[in-house]
């Protein structure tokens, strides 16, 4: 009897509600005609108790692409010409990041919880050190987010998750055409009263296939062969066109 109670306590409130997720696809293949993709996330909340009455259930879905280091540069006017002056290095910045929620972010999750779980875009960009010489690192960080948001690489989708009967939820995330290859991490947060009560993690694999994969691998692994092949193709095409035109003329 005591053991049973202990188990219940350990299981605690965190496990009272759990995510069961389905993905429309867990693989994205980049082919020659790839023009972006859409992923549908649908899931259900599993619970063994009646729905708590005190606070509404909220859902947050995040999708994060592979992180890479990069440099953000700012132009300044020097002698009438706009040139790159200040630069700031970001140690890690996700190549893709989407956050979808059931409502306005601050109503769904508290600031502390947001920080703890690295939920939003600014938290997933890391710039450790390397800020000397830059007067306002925050402006650089904002610029990175702004530029990537314009390219559809960083998305803030507040209110885009539909939750029905506090049990079934779904949302869709558009992946743009300029995707980086790799494993994309998916996280689903369940929150109540702006506190995270469950996290689900999954992965989506994005990779080039077919001719795209062949060319990409050849360029990376056999650059000399690749370079020679491009030149041979170019010469053959030039020669061929010339021959065809001559044949047409005579």
């Amino acid at each position: 009897m005591i053991r049973l109670l202990l188990l219940l306590l350990l299981a605690g409130p965190a496990a009272a509600e759990e995510v069961v997720l389905g993905l429309s696809r867990d693989e994205v293949s980049i082919t020659a005609t790839f023009d972006g993709s859409e992923i549908l996330f649908y899931g259900a909340v599993k619970r063994e108790e009646p729905i708590p009455e005190d606070a509404d259930l909220e859902v947050i879905v995040t999708v994060e692409g592979p992180s890479e280091p990069l440099t953000v540069r700012r132009k300044d006017r020097v002698a009438g010409i706009w040139i790159n002056r200040a630069a700031m290095r970001m140690d890690l910045a996700p190549s893709f990041y989407a956050v979808a929620t059931t409502g306005p972010l601050r109503e769904v999750i508290s600031h502390t919880e947001e920080l703890r779980h690295n939920v939003t875009i600014p938290q997933s960009i890391r710039a450790v050190g390397e800020v000397e010489g830059v007067d306002d690192p925050e402006a650089f960080r904002q610029a990175l987010i702004r530029i990537r948001a314009e390219d559809g690489l960083y998305q803030m989708l507040e209110g885009e998750v539909t939750l029905e009967e506090e049990t079934l939820f779904y949302t869709r995330v558009e992946l743009p055409a300029n995707l980086t290859e790799g494993l994309y991490g998916v996280r689903i947060f369940l929150t109540r009263d702006r506190e995270v009560i469950d996290v689900y993690r999954g992965e989506i694999e994005v990779q080039k296939v077919g001719l795209e994969r062949f060319l990409f691998k050849l360029a990376q692994e056999q650059p000399l062969v690749y370079g020679l092949l491009s030149i041979v193709i170019a010469i053959a095409a030039g020669w061929g066109a010339s021959a065809v035109f001559r044949a047409l003329q005579s």
Binding site: K208, A219, L228, S230, A234, G238, S242
Partner: protein
């Protein structure tokens, strides 16, 4: 119809790329320029990363130049000996240029330097050609006026003289090697074939007959751009074969049409058209440097480390 480019990692409308290739090929056949000075900015414009645009346009120039030079060969408008001398200088220049390019890239000033090069070279070459062609047209319209050309210059007094039969010249090899070398540097740094510098340099510095200038320039561009393509492919992996193939499909067709059109036009008219085009591209690039950009920040994914 959009197509995904494996190295550039973007998807672009295939017909747009075919069109760009076609227009540039036309210019290549018409003027004997590789068209890189036009294709590279156009590729930036449709969203291809600059490093890929520069490397791939070199590859596409190889194709359109081969296509165009064959037509010139048949009309015996290629000075092979002069082409080889220019090429020797060009390959050396290209090697130096790629080395300089790497240093600039580390400093994050490639864009600026490339733009400045374009503005300075296109501006001065364009203006020079424009004035010259206007004068030539005016002289040609006056009956009895004779075109006079300086037959003796530095090229005649320097040592290592060589006979260039097709061009009808007997000059020192030093000026052509130097011309080839400087154009080679520019071609690597600016991602162009260098025809727009080479053509006027051959006319005004080496005093070659206009008739053989285009073919000879194309001949030497093939080798320098092929070499540049290889360097970019091995050092940066930025040559996009898919992009190159689409561009050159449009390009080779355009080049053939251009060569045929060129054969029916007068040299002065050709030169004035090229001058206007060169000045237009120069003006656009100068405006970009002087007008405050809408986005002051830029993301550099390669310039790390």
């Amino acid at each position: 119809m959009t197509i995904y480019l494996p190295i550039a990692e973007v998807s672009v409308n295939a017909f747009l790329l075919l069109g760009i290739g076609g227009v540039v090929g036309l210019l290549s056949g018409l003027f004997g320029v590789g068209g890189g000075f036009l294709i590279t900015p156009l590729l930036f414009f449709v969203g291809i990363p600059p490093a890929v645009a520069v490397a791939t346009s070199a590859n596409q120039i190889v194709a359109s130049s081969v296509s165009a030079v064959l037509a010139h060969f048949r009309r015996r408008n290629v000075d092979l000996r002069m082409g080889t001398v220019l090429m020797a200088g060009g390959l050396a220049g290209s090697t130096v240029g790629v080395w300089g390019f790497a240093i600039l890239r580390e400093m994050g000033q490639v864009d600026l330097f490339v733009s400045l090069c374009y503005v300075v070279f296109l501006g001065s070459v364009g203006a020079l050609m424009f004035v010259e062609s206007l004068n030539a047209l005016r002289r040609a319209s006056k009956p009895g006026a004779k075109v006079t050309r300086r037959r003796h210059g530095l090229a005649h007094t320097l040592p290592f003289k060589m006979k260039f039969r097709v061009s009808g010249l007997y000059i020192s090899v030093i000026p052509p090697v130097l011309v080839g070398f400087s154009v080679g540097i520019l071609s690597a740094v600016m991602g162009v074939g260098g025809g727009f510098i080479m053509v006027p340099a051959m006319i005004y510095l080496l005093h070659m007959p206009t008739k053989v200038v285009v073919g000879t320039s194309l001949f030497q561009i093939i080798f320098v751009t092929a070499y540049t393509t290889l360097l970019h492919a091995t050092t940066n992996q930025t040559v996009d074969m898919m992009l190159a193939v689409i561009l050159l499909l449009g390009g080779v067709v355009g080049a053939q049409l251009g060569t045929r059109m060129g054969a029916r036009m007068r040299a002065e008219q050709l030169r004035i058209l090229l001058a206007i085009l060169v000045l237009a591209v120069c003006g656009k690039l100068a405006a970009d440097l002087l007008i405050e950009p809408a986005e002051l920040y830029s993301i550099d994914e390669q310039g790390v480390g």
